[in-house]
Symmetry: C3
Subunit: 357 residues, 3 copies
């Protein structure tokens, strides 16, 4: 959901520190892929194989690596060190997130004790609880539910039907996609002598730091006694489960459908693939990259490097072991052959020397 | 959620091209299992082992294979080639999806520029955005959110609390179960030199073709620059993740909790089990059947046939390798035995010939 | 989301059958961890290693095992057999779930034929369908949708944006977290000769028994012809998928992101880890504990004991096989060595005896 703006090639090149070849006064109104670009759009090329297609496209301008000197002089170019990054930065300018004008929909249900900042959009069927605080410039879409004593920072985007339980806290510029649930009770029970489970108290909170983005239907449980924390600028995909008291570091990336059990720590800048499962009280250190579908046992410490498999092991080990497993049928054949040769030796030995026993 | 109608056995048999044995004027008011059928309901049998139970049931009529000639003449029968299919077709007649009368609930929030067709039901707490278009006969339940510029076809059923982000498009007779999220931003970022992630533009769309059904809490992200597409009559289960720019073919089936990464293509008629994970830019060809929990690496092409495991391999290979792994302890014992026999041979050789070195 | 009460140490000790050392008149207003406890809070210690920290904490009172006799006499203690259980029981007293006063929000949409009991809280933007029945003391939060003919027992807590499809039934003291979906159509189709899938009738129901708690965004489908049932006091985590006709026994525990296919039975007291996948028509017997990420094939019967892996096997077998796999490189080396020794034997044999062939 984004708006549209227009800029000249010169303005865009300045924004990304690039140099222009061609007419820098061309007005660009959007970004596009090479295949779909129209005459007022800008595309990017990073791969020399795509260059010919790019030059033949309708794009008004191409963002290209500094070492590309295409012969076609007809196309306007912006040369930069990292075209894909420049493309993303330009898209931030040309397609800023949609901002609805400040307003409160008449169907919204806002507690008298809630504090709503300046320039806030509150959509239809939203609820905001007692003593909640919504920062300036934040947008709350249809059906979002903000519990009592929740704090939301400035310029957040809360998509439809998000649920924030009581007492949780969001920083500034946080984006929560539709159906996100933050602050539900963690999953902890203590069985009594009749195996009836009593809830271990789930009375902590969740703290989401600035610039975090969380994908649709992801669930982040509140701390049992302490807090669950998502560090600054972490990016979390759809349908992820984050249990009570998990600590996610700054700039961590977590792909879809991964599940992280209670009290596990993921340090700054770690990258976690999709459908990964982590036991409780594990620790993923900075510099670790965890491949999709990996499994991390409770209490495990995963150091920097690339990890793979169930249970996780260094990617190189995983590959080597996998190769060994794939050669198992061959190994079996080799053992059979050795067995045959030994039997033959034994037979010959017996023939020529008799049984020495 | 379904309504109830009544039909005679004759009418039902005609609908499924079956032949009746017994009183074809009996009125049937519902389908049921053999165990639970009451005197005005119809059940089906496909397995000869179930036949006796079926004849003893209270069902008013049984749908049976053409080659069943039960001796009990007391029971009304409809004979067809495929009883389970006939049962499903008869259930479509007797239990059509619930249709609420055309109406717009006073709590619904409908933009002035939205177009709502004939015979549409719009439930409580629904929102419909600017320039959205809702086709004739569509039913939108409680709390559904239709973004700006969304197009919804005819006779769709949008269950409670579904979220359709701006600009996405649904065909006709689409069914979306509760909590589905369509069109959230795809998960794509470009890190800068400080490892701050900038959103790669997620400004494409999602196209859902006719007769698609999508299970509860499934998330389908919008294309980054292009579109994410779900092909005609595809059936997708609950809690599935479909990333940006994925292309799902016609009549594809995807079971629960499967995740499909960006730009992956699933061709027509492929069948995907539950909890499968697919890397990005993979391709599953027509005729492929992917077993539950399989893992498909990025860029992998999966041909027709049955596939299994992490990473996926043909089921036969998977089974063979699995058998080899299960025999590993035995292989180890064999190697030990060979080692013992070799040592013995070496010993004898030395005893009788001395060490030739 | 919980309230706060105050009790003396004497009252709390009596509640958990513990004996007090120190001043039993101290007033306690909450539970806390050792690290975070303030002067009016109670904490617990189960591990002797934590004892010193605990005695040094600010907690007003500690719950300790009966065999702990700390030298520090300054701290008030409650001695019990199971401190963690006592802590949970005390938390139930000091932090009872939040109860909003009986009221019906003016934005709620309640069918005229619905029956709402005494002392019920119905929040903003809730819908309650025709002939639905809400028991005494139940709390329905923002945006919850209760379908037609739904029965909800007494003292349930239905968190925001939960969806209950038509006809499903909840017992007493059930807790459903935000975004739960109960009663969506099961995933069952019958393909016709053109591979067009017709919905197998999904016209059964879901029965949730007393004291069940279900985590955020979990989906439980209705039975196809019969019912899906969640047994008394079962505890289910977030983002779990439970398919049509599944039977979950009493006191079963299921961790996050697990998926259970159609008609599978989980008997009383079984414990299921996270991200487990179960095929259809499987049975997990009482006393079984299934490790995270395990895979259970359709029709499999899993007996009491600890199970692990894909496909599941007894944990001991899994560990043994895993050890064998990790020694594969070594096994390969051994086979190589044997090959060398055999070749040497063969060579010597030939040297000394000539080729006997």
């Amino acid at each position: 959901m984004s708006a549209h703006k227009e800029k000249t090639v010169a303005e865009l090149a300045a924004h990304v520190g690039g140099s222009v070849a061609g007419d820098s006064s061309i007005v660009i109104s959007g970004v596009a892929s090479i295949e779909r670009a129209s005459e007022d759009e800008i595309a990017f090329v990073e791969d020399a194989k795509m260059l010919e297609n790019a030059l033949g496209s309708r794009a008004a301008c191409l963002i290209v690596p500094e070492d590309f000197f295409p012969e076609s002089e007809g196309k306007c170019l912006i040369r930069v060190a990292r075209p894909k990054l420049a493309f993303a930065l330009i898209a931030e300018i040309l397609h800023p997130p949609k901002r609805l004008p400040a307003s409160i929909h008449p169907t919204a249900n806002i507690a008298a004790s809630a504090q709503v900042g300046e320039d806030v959009y509150i959509g239809a069927h939203v609820s905001i609880g007692e003593r909640a605080n919504v920062g300036d410039g934040t947008q709350l879409y249809h059906g979002a539910c903000v519990g009592d004593d929740v704090t939301i920072g400035r310029d957040c985007i809360i998509h439809p039907n998000v649920v924030l339980y009581d007492g949780i806290s969001l920083g500034d510029r946080v984006i929560l996609h539709a159906g996100v649930v933050i602050g539900a009770d963690g999953f902890g029970y203590v069985p009594d002598e009749n195996n009836v489970r009593h809830k271990f108290p789930q009375i902590g909170t969740v703290i989401i730091e600035d610039e975090v983005e969380i994908g649709a239907a992801t669930c982040i449980d509140r701390g049992a006694l302490g807090e669950t924390r998502i560090g600054r600028a972490a990016k979390i995909d759809n349908l992820v489960q984050i249990a009570h008291n998990v600590q996610i570091g700054a700039r961590v990336v977590i792909a879809s459908q991964t599940g992280i059990s209670g009290s596990t720590v993921i340090e700054d800048d770690a990258i976690i693939g999709g459908q990964v499962g982590m036991g409780d009280h594990a620790r993923v250190q900075s510099g670790a990259i965890i491949g999709s579908k990996a499994g991390i046992l409770p209490g495990k410490i995963v150091r920097a490097g690339v990890w793979w498999g169930i249970p996780v092991q260094p990617l190189e080990d995983y590959k080597r072991l996998n190769a060994h497993m794939n050669r198992l049928p061959q190994l079996r054949e080799e053992v059979k052959e050795l067995r045959r040769r030994i039997a033959e030796l034994e037979e010959r030995f017996k023939d020529e020397h008799g049984d020495s026993k």
